[in-house]
């Protein structure tokens, strides 16, 4: 029962606003690489 609820919740979490999640993940990755590039460039 607990496992079923957990799976159901997980499916709901994944399926709500899927595009928003994909776009925000892309931005997060780009942002991370950008900041990493800046850090390397200025040798922090």
């Amino acid at each position: 029962m607990v496992k079923k609820n957990f799976t159901r919740r997980l499916i709901i979490i994944i399926t709500t606003h899927p595009w928003l999640k994909v776009i925000s993940l892309l931005i997060a990755i780009l942002l991370w690489f950008y900041i990493q590039g800046e850090i390397n460039r200025f040798d922090y």
């Binding site: 159901r8 919740r9 979490i13 709500t16 606003h17 780009l30 942002l31 991370w32 990493q36 590039g37």
Partner: protein, 264 residues
């Protein structure tokens, strides 16, 4: 060797996941407002900047860097109302999460359902919105801000005929009665029964645009309905309504009621 590699990987992954969560929450917050258009523009500029930087176009990169410096100030001015609202909601959102899970949510719901039952018995129409994850700031702005503790008396008073706020809907968000007299978009569905008036159409319309749960009381038929994700469920009793709303807020959706009207 592999241990070093693992250490090199998990830190960036955690950092990206944290960034992802923060960006997602910001985008979710702006999703229901007009600011999303501005946000989309910023995302396009950010992507362009990233590409320009990767391709080593120095002039364009210089231009973008200067543009960003100015745009920080511009953004603060453009988003000033949203930032203020967002900061004010930080504490409230936390409270909402507690209310959603705890016994307080049951109390709020019982007050709402008592009001719904009394309004139905008195043949008074009502439109009550229970906000979930999607922000309803645009709709709250269309009405009169109340920000009051929910009570059946308050809700019944709002919908009393001839009261100044009885037209439109009431929005409950964060365990508070946020606003009354709010205007909602009407559904464009054509397959609806002819006896469903503007109130029901507004309820379906809002549930199509957002993930809010909308309760409708029909003044002619004393019927209690619920609109969720574009579907209307009619002829509900207080007990059924209570358990189903609890189910929606607990599981954030799922198959919880037999559909009565066609999808359209």
């Amino acid at each position: 060797m592999s241990q070093f590699m693992l250490q090199d990987i998990w830190k960036p992954v955690i950092e990206i996941v944290i960034l992802w969560f923060v960006i997602y929450r910001i985008m979710l917050f702006f999703a229901g407002t007009r600011a999303i258009l501005v946000l989309r523009g910023i995302i396009v500029i950010l992507l362009a900047f990233f590409i320009v930087q990767r391709l080593n176009f120095l002039i364009l990169e210089w231009l973008f860097t200067k543009l960003f410096a100015i745009s920080v100030l511009a953004l603060l001015i453009i988003f000033q109302p949203e930032i203020r609202q967002g900061l004010a909601n930080l504490g409230r959102r936390h409270l909402f999460e507690i209310i959603k899970e705890g016994e307080d949510f049951d109390l709020v719901l019982k007050e709402v359902l008592t009001a719904v039952e009394n309004l139905s018995n008195s043949k008074i129409g009502a439109l009550i919105v229970l906000a979930k994850e999607d922000p309803l700031s645009e709709y709250i702005k269309s009405g009169v801000i109340i920000d009051g503790r929910p009570s059946s008396e308050l809700i019944q008073t709002i919908f009393t005929p001839n009261s100044l706020l009885h037209d439109g809907g009431v929005i409950l968000q964060g365990g508070r009665v946020m606003a009354a007299g709010c205007i909602f978009p009407l559904t464009q569905k054509e397959q609806l029964h002819r006896f469903l008036g503007t109130r029901h159409r507004a309820a379906i319309g809002l549930s199509e645009e957002t993930d809010a749960v909308v309760i409708v009381v029909s003044e002619e038929r004393q019927d209690i309905s619920l609109a969720y994700k574009g579907q209307l469920y009619q002829g509900l009793t207080r007990e059924v309504l209570f358990s189903k709303i609890k189910e929606i807020f607990k599981t954030e959706g799922g198959r919880w009621l037999k559909r009565i009207l066609p999808a359209g």
